[in-house]
């Protein structure tokens, strides 16, 4: 009985047709699966099935040392690996009670915000592709390549960066960051602007997104929404502002919020956040330039990290929302238990509620706008 719904998605019952969408489906990003009961084109019931990318990251973490786990965090939300790295490192630093040098924190801020831009670019591009507009995706990807170049030239990897170390960062920003950033900055604005022109006021785009899968703030909070999806519902909550970690209390930036929590608001939040991130990078880089060139980059960290017995939870604002790491230490060099709180996990579980009564095309739009990354969803 349990098997029948697996590949052939069961048989249609009664008046409804059961449609199996995924896991290999263009809009399912590889590993998601939704079993939808439809009445014509209207979705009566959608049942998401996850776990197709469950790689046992949490179990693996119990068998790796604290440092060895950093590369694994890259592969959680692979659109913005650096945000995960930083989040994990901060959790371990909290566990160890380490104080990270200011310069290292500034570099972290710069890199994390770049990663945020890269993440949002993917989301907006893919949302366009899923709604049938292919071209913005290409415009955004071109600029994303330039961000990748900065990452690559900082630490050798394009996507899975393994950025930073526990207690700081591994290297200073290279000398020509200034030149690269000055070249990249106008291009980023240009890409955002082009996308804006192509999509935002496009009548078809507005028809397809405004009011689609709207969500009330009360529901969003009950379902545990965080990040852009929560802000789209009109709740002003950003961990960078509300529980400032690192140096985020020193920067001035806005937290854009939406009204209806529909696909359009989620899209607009991302578009605006990209611009806010550029603002933050500007400020952080100005502060970085004032630092002494030989300022320390690492706190005093022992070779083998053996934190005291205890358990901590530390959350940061990842591009998708609150990314938290719960680490329980038993005093050895390996974590006793690592629990990752992925942002899109909570968002995606409200999916049946979101798409009920909408059309199949809206289901796809909604899924894209939630930015469900299977890597962190399934871990």
């Amino acid at each position: 009985m349990v098997n029948e719904c697996v590949v052939n998605a069961g048989h249609s019952t009664g008046d409804y047709v059961t449609i199996n969408i995924g896991p290999s489906h263009p809009a399912m990003h590889g590993t998601l699966r939704v079993i939808a009961q439809t009445d014509g084109e209207t979705v009566v019931k959608a049942d998401p099935e996850i776990g197709y990318l469950h790689r046992g990251v949490e179990k693996l973490g119990e068998h790796l040392t604290y440092h060895q786990f950093i590369p694994i965090t890259d592969r959680l939300n692979y659109c913005s690996a650096i945000a995960n790295n930083v989040s994990y490192e901060m959790a371990v630093e909290k566990l160890m009670g380490l104080e990270v040098p200011e310069k290292a924190q500034l570099i972290r801020v710069i890199m994390t915000e770049l990663a945020r831009i890269a993440d949002h670019q993917v989301l907006v591009g893919i949302l366009g592709v899923d709604l049938g507009a292919f071209t913005p995706f290409f415009y955004l990807i071109i600029q994303r390549e330039e961000i990748y170049e900065i990452f690559e030239w900082y630490n050798g990897a394009r996507l899975t960066n393994t950025f930073g170390r526990i207690g700081g960062v591994e290297a200073d920003l290279p000398d020509d960051f200034d030149a690269r950033w000055r070249e990249l900055r106008p291009n980023l604005f240009k890409a955002i602007d082009e996308t804006d022109k192509l999509l935002t006021h496009n009548r078809i785009w507005m028809d397809r997104t405004i009011g689609v899968t709207a969500f009330s703030p009360e529901d969003a909070l009950a379902w545990g929404f965080t990040g852009p999806c929560l802000r789209a519902c009109g709740v002003k909550r950003d961990l960078r502002k509300d529980e400032p970690y690192g140096l985020y209390d020193r920067f001035t930036f806005d937290v854009p919020i939406g009204k209806n929590g529909d696909v359009f608001d989620r899209y607009m939040i991302r578009m605006k956040e990209m611009e806010e991130s550029i603002k933050i990078i500007d400020q952080a880089y100005a502060m970085y330039q004032e630092m002494a060139p030989d300022a320390p980059l690492m706190a005093k960290v022992p070779k083998v990290i053996k934190p005291p017995v205890g358990e901590v939870y530390h959350a940061t604002e990842a591009p998708n929302g609150e990314l938290g790491f719960f680490i329980k230490s038993d005093g050895s060099d390996k974590p006793y238990r690592i629990k990752i709180r992925p942002p899109c996990y909570m968002v995606y579980q409200a999916f049946p509620e979101l798409v009920k009564g909408e059309m199949i095309a809206d289901l796809i739009a909604c899924l894209s706008s939630l930015n469900v990354i299977a890597g962190e969803l399934d871990r």
Binding site: G132, F138, I204
Partner: protein, 346 residues
């Protein structure tokens, strides 16, 4: 006997020409998309990748031919043929130039000048939906059937404004023959505009072009094969050359629709303010009229590509809403106003 030879030459010419344009269109589409998207596009097969469609064709021909186990075999085979044949046949009545005089014999550049060519085109246009629905149904796949259903609903809905827009044009020209319509577009309108259909029927043209995009299943109306929603729509289960026929039929369809647009609204082979017949020899005039026609068609073909890579796609209910709530009332109003104007002026 001589007439027979000429007719056969014309048929072969138009077939080859349509095939060639459809083949080149696949190349234009890919390179055009690449140009719009800041890429290069296929450039390895032949010069500028011009032989890319050929490579695709060879590959599709030599690929394993799969008919799914649960599919309806006969209909599955019939689907692509039903889809691509009407597209070819519709071309028979579209004039692709004025006339050419060779050895004292006047040859009309049109396969056959049917006096109800108009109705013929409309009738064949609605035939294409059978290819889609038959293919979608025969595949026995839920995505295919969804695609087929979407296509049927869409084509039926847009047939109405399409037909009404055509009807208004027919009222203006007072004929159903596409050749006579073409000839009627010579000269100027109101003294300063070219005497083209678009100036006599601006709303009609808009209705026609929107409906044509829907008829051709092109973005923003590509719901029957909406990639991100229903995988590949009605041809999800089709591979090898059967898929090739579907893809190919689509481009032939585009050709026909563009030719129709030019014939009805853009003065067919006429250049604005210029009577080519007056200063060109009989043969060169024939060739020139064909070239002018072809250039105009190319523009509309390119427009199809251009639009495809610019706008997102509609949702199903929005397509229906647009068709029934906006286009049909507008088309009816257009028809009424046209009829009134003709009544008053005559």
């Amino acid at each position: 006997m001589n007439d027979w030879v000429i007719a056969i030459i014309k048929v072969v010419f138009i077939w080859v020409w349509t095939l060639l344009v459809a083949v080149v269109m696949t190349w234009v589409e890919r390179r055009g998309a690449a140009m719009i998207q800041d890429r290069l596009g296929p450039n390895r097969a032949g010069p500028f990748g011009l032989f890319q469609p050929l490579a695709d064709g060879i590959k599709l021909f030599t690929k394993e031919d799969i008919i799914p186990a649960n599919a309806n075999r006969i209909l599955f085979i019939l689907g692509p043929i039903l889809f691509s044949l009407p597209a070819f046949s519709a071309y028979a009545v579209v004039p692709f130039g004025d006339k050419i005089v060779i050895a004292g014999k006047e040859i009309i550049l049109q396969v056959s000048d049917v006096n109800v060519g108009f109705l013929y085109v409309v009738a064949l246009g609605s035939m294409a939906v059978y290819g889609v629905i038959v293919g979608g149904w025969a595949s026995n796949n839920k995505f295919s059937i969804l695609g087929g259903l979407r296509s049927t609903a869409q084509l039926i809905s847009y047939e109405v404004p399409w037909g009404l827009a055509l009807l208004a044009a027919a009222l203006v020209y007072g004929t159903f023959s596409l050749r006579e319509i073409s000839i009627a577009q010579q000269g100027t309108f109101l003294g300063f505009l070219p005497n083209w259909g678009i100036f006599r029927q601006p709303l009609g043209f808009l209705l026609f072009i929107v409906a044509a995009y829907a008829e051709a299943n092109r973005v923003p109306f590509d719901l029957p094969e909406a990639e991100s929603e229903i995988v590949a729509g009605y041809h999800t289960e089709y591979g090898s050359m059967r898929l090739g026929l579907y893809l190919f039929g689509e481009y032939v369809n585009l050709c026909t629709l563009s030719a129709l647009m030019v014939t009805l609204y853009f003065g067919s082979w006429h250049l604005p303010y210029l009577n080519m017949e007056a200063f060109l020899g009989p043969i060169s005039y024939g060739i020139a009229s064909f070239l002018v026609f072809f250039l105009k068609v190319s523009f509309f073909l390119w427009l199809f590509v251009w639009v495809r890579w610019t706008v997102p796609r509609f949702r199903y209910d929005q397509v229906m809403g647009l068709g029934w709530k906006s286009l049909i009332p507008l088309a009816l109003a257009n028809l009424f106003v046209t009829a009134l104007a003709i009544q008053l002026t005559v």
